[in-house]
């Protein structure tokens, strides 16, 4: 199966290249893989994820996502690439001035879908994450778990090629966490979406086969 993400001798750094976080990392992730990335705090898990959605350019080496080399990508191409990604954040990053339904269809709005399509999809997605009755509420009226479900629904809105999740259950209780894992497992299983999750801890109840990478001492290693 083809690689969705491919890194070769990847070095990531902050402060104009002075502070290296990841050094000479090489890995490949295929379509439909479910990947956990773990490591101690400050090891560079979130940094790696940022580089995958183009927020941080590689200092050295190659990083190819969806066939695009992120070291040499233009802003238009990056925009286009991001429309094929679903991104989930620990702090949800919902737009608080928008209703839940509008937040969910943000990727569709960006892709230029008609209002009718957006409305239908919002209904379908909110039903999928069991938040139909909250469509017209605002994010701050929901609990943390519910907000994260909105975040997951938004990430799934356009059937992305890859889902990147940064500590998606970091602020949630066990029940809400399980709901989020279920949703991501379903996306991976049913739609063959590649899912990359940065987390401190791999969930104990997880039915899907997965790959596990550890970031340690600036290196990225796969655990077999």
């Amino acid at each position: 199966m083809s690689n969705v993400i491919s890194a070769k001798n990847l070095t990531l750094a902050y402060d104009n290249g002075r502070k290296e976080i990841i050094k000479n990392a090489s890995f490949n992730i295929k379509k439909g893989d479910f990947v956990f990335i773990t490591g101690p705090s400050g090891s560079g898990k979130s940094t790696l994820l940022k580089s995958l959605y183009g927020q941080l350019k590689p200092k050295e080496g190659n990083l190819v996502v969806g066939g695009r080399d992120l070291a040499n990508i233009g802003s238009r191409q990056l925009q286009e690439l991001r429309t094929h990604m679903g991104i989930i954040f620990q702090d949800y990053k919902l737009i608080n001035e928008w209703t839940v339904a509008k937040n969910v269809v943000l990727p569709l709005m960006i892709a230029g879908y008609s209002l009718d399509v957006q409305e239908t999809q919002a209904h379908r997605l909110l039903k999928h994450v069991k938040l139909s009755e909250h469509a017209d509420k605002y994010p701050l009226e929901l609990s943390g778990g519910e907000q994260q479900r909105v975040g997951v629904a938004r990430a799934l809105a356009k059937n992305p090629v890859v889902i990147l999740a940064d500590e998606p259950t970091g602020n949630l209780d066990d029940y809400s966490s399980n709901v989020i894992w279920d949703l991501m497992e379903n996306a991976c299983q049913q739609l063959e979406t590649t899912v990359l999750v940065v987390t401190h801890k791999i969930p104990t109840i997880f039915s899907l086969p997965y790959r596990h990478f550890i970031i340690e001492s600036k290196g990225v290693y796969e655990v077999h």
């Binding site: 925009q79 690439l81 991001r82 990053k93 737009i95 001035e97 990727p107 960006i110 938004r154």
Partner: protein, 271 residues
């Protein structure tokens, strides 16, 4: 309250620019005839031994545009009252020829002096009186006032533009999170900055309407009651509907420029 304050912080500097522009337009229109009068009403006096033609004077200096002879009979009848017919004939014969000479454009004192010298080179011309000092001082005062007005409006415009950009940055800060989320999901710049454009364009309309309202009040209420002749005579010139289009055009141009300046100045989130 905060909503109104946020909008006023943008509308007021924009209005300052629009008021300046409209004030200049009105000033220019109402003083246009005065300026024309200063330019075109000017003539110099030329005294010659023999009759001269416009063609001849133009050859001496190309700035000369009109020539009007002052009737000598009238001069004689004024100065020779009670004098016999014979003496009157002698006076007329001895009297030089007087002409009012107009110029093709407004000229400074030095240029007037040059014309005087050019004309006096001709032997038939006895004397040239330019009245340069009174002409020049009136026009210069007018030109100086106009220049000061331009400088003031320009300065006010620059300061106001900075205030507009500052306010735009505050808005951008307020909408930063939303714009970042949209960027992460691949929204193009125009869509991300859409909210700034919407607010700015709305405020541009409001500022135009308020500025127009001020001048409509001046035109229909204040001018009529002011007792100032110029205002009453030139009431129609105080505000024209085309001005509203000019103001709206300028306001939209300014706000679009301001949004672009702010959005592009902090483009990209590369770390």
């Amino acid at each position: 309250m905060k909503f109104i304050k946020n909008h006023l912080m943008f509308i007021l500097p924009l209005m300052a620019i629009l008021l300046g522009i409209e004030f200049y337009l009105v000033f220019d229109r109402t003083t246009d005839s005065y300026e024309k009068g200063l330019k075109e009403g000017y003539t110099m006096l030329v005294v010659t031994k023999k009759p001269v033609t416009l063609q001849k004077l133009k050859q001496l200096n190309p700035h000369i545009a009109t020539l009007e002879a002052i009737k000598r009979d009238q001069i004689v009848s004024e100065v020779a009252k009670g004098v016999s017919k014979e003496s009157r004939k002698e006076i007329l014969a001895a009297l030089p020829y007087f002409y009012n000479v107009g110029l093709d454009s407004y000229l400074g004192t030095a240029a007037l002096e040059k014309i005087k010298k050019d004309l006096e080179k001709d032997a038939t011309i006895k004397r040239v009186e330019t009245f340069g000092s009174s002409y020049s001082s009136a026009y210069r005062l007018f030109a100086f006032i106009k220049f000061l007005l331009k400088v003031f409006i320009g300065f006010m415009g620059i300061v106001s533009l900075f205030l507009i950009i500052k306010q735009m940055e505050i808005w951008k800060y307020a909408h930063r999170e939303r714009m970042q989320v949209m960027e992460i999901f691949g929204a193009p710049l125009m869509l991300r900055a859409g909210v700034l454009f919407k607010v700015a364009i709305f405020d541009a309309f409001i500022a135009t309407l308020l500025t127009s309202a001020v001048f409509l009040y001046v035109k229909f209420v204040w001018a009529a009651q002011s007792g100032i002749d110029l205002m009453m005579q030139k009431q129609d010139e105080l505000f024209k509907m085309t001005d509203m289009a000019i103001l709206l055009g300028v306001a939209l141009l300014l706000v679009i420029m301001a949004v672009y300046t702010v959005v592009f100045s902090s483009k990209g989130v590369q770390e």
